[in-house]
Symmetry: C2
Subunit: 306 residues, 2 copies
Amino acid sequence: MHKLLLLTKNRDREAYLAYLKSAALPDLEITTSFDSNIDLVFGEPTLIREMLPQLSKLVWVQSSWAGVEPLLEPGLRRDYMLTNARGVFGGLMSEFVFGYLLLYERKILQRLAAQKESRWDPSLTGTLRGKKIGVLGVGSIGSHLAETATHFGMVVRGYTRASETCPFIDSYYHEPDLSDFASGLDVLVNTLPNTPRTKKIINSELLAAMRQGGIFINVGRGSAINEGDLIAALTHGHLACAVLDVFEQEPLPPEHPFWKTDNLFITSHTSAPSFPEDIARLFLENYLNWINGRKLNFQVNFESGY
Amino acid sequence: MHKLLLLTKNRDREAYLAYLKSAALPDLEITTSFDSNIDLVFGEPTLIREMLPQLSKLVWVQSSWAGVEPLLEPGLRRDYMLTNARGVFGGLMSEFVFGYLLLYERKILQRLAAQKESRWDPSLTGTLRGKKIGVLGVGSIGSHLAETATHFGMVVRGYTRASETCPFIDSYYHEPDLSDFASGLDVLVNTLPNTPRTKKIINSELLAAMRQGGIFINVGRGSAINEGDLIAALTHGHLACAVLDVFEQEPLPPEHPFWKTDNLFITSHTSAPSFPEDIARLFLENYLNWINGRKLNFQVNFESGY
């Protein structure tokens, strides 16, 4: 018999319990509070981190988030298997990224302003078609973005460490060809996880390589950005706009200059929520892998951080 | 030798001339003003209508728009071949429709309001995935919308007169099953042309069949809507919002109640502009069809109106 601790926000707890119970997983008892027999934890990294020291029988942690930084902090135990959520966020990220790209290209805010004045505004719209988008990081999220971009007729570049398996990338770039990758881009989207290699990868040099009037979107991690460089690129008009969903410090402090930077959209880490339906399905499949001795999906390497 | 009259807005004239001249079409002289030898006109229906009576040698008119109503008015001559622009608007219409759907689902305006107050807003976002969209009219535009909807994981219904050739429609409906088609829809998009059969097809009965809190988007023609019924559905909250790009009278008069209707977005007939690059290419191909005795693409039937 295994014992599962479910650690999620209050708003999601009932939904997760309903999904887990309806699956009637074999050999599994489920609890939402500490118990000395717990060998399996499923939930949010911030909540799990607090419990880690007490869980003497811990074997496996399934994160309900993609990002597991809270569990990678120095000094925390690493004597268990850690798996994260992957493969379920691509569609949500595409909705987010293309929602904002279309907001800009199709002048939605400008047309709203005209409407407030009862003013017919037949000014020409832009289009995504033919524009160049660069995706930093081509995992499951970057691949979905590439597919959506291709659907809208964009030219797609991908920057990865090595793999070249996504059919929707028109041209691949690898280290150290970062500025070739960025050269002349209309749109740059960062999907990279937070690792030592990705810190401040978006800086003045990279942004300067983009086309004048381009758009930058960050759905990866806040640590990937040099904040001062981004503000300068927006303030000087080299970038038309930027959309930031993630930040080095979350919630973003009220005094942070980002709040008042023109042409910057702040979205409070809402780009790809972990919907219980998706994450529960992912856990159920992984639980069956576990009890049947198969390899777990989406295992995180504590060293590389993803 | 053929003589082509190019009749477009000033802002587009140079672009069209450049495309036409660079193609070096055989046996073709191009002019932008009246001449008694003109046998071919390419341009905007409203401008062409004014010239029609004078063009004694007219054989063929290629419209740069999809909508050719100005040339179908009673009393106008019909002794020439009329072709319209098709097949180039699908991508632009998808950008438009999904731009507004994502604006709504992803709470973009709500997050902008929070940002104005320097307020972190982690409220859950919606998603298009799993939602039901119904496309009224499955021509090249409706088919592209269906493909985009499928890409975003939506369930897609199509309402057509007969054909069932689009692979991205999950279920087809035909006359008289309009209320079955609309039943429980989250999103309804009208792409139908203006014909006697499509007038006021969107009325209180059809809207009432949709899910409470649904979205209606009109990129077809303004005549398809019963305006009072739509305002009532928005005012009473049955619809969450509506997006109207086309109107019975354009420009929409400043005193029209649509301007002040809550949750209504007005976009001034900008959803799918005729970009010279697209339309010129379409004309060039059709010109080669013409002089080589092949059937013209996209010929309009003066009786059915499309």
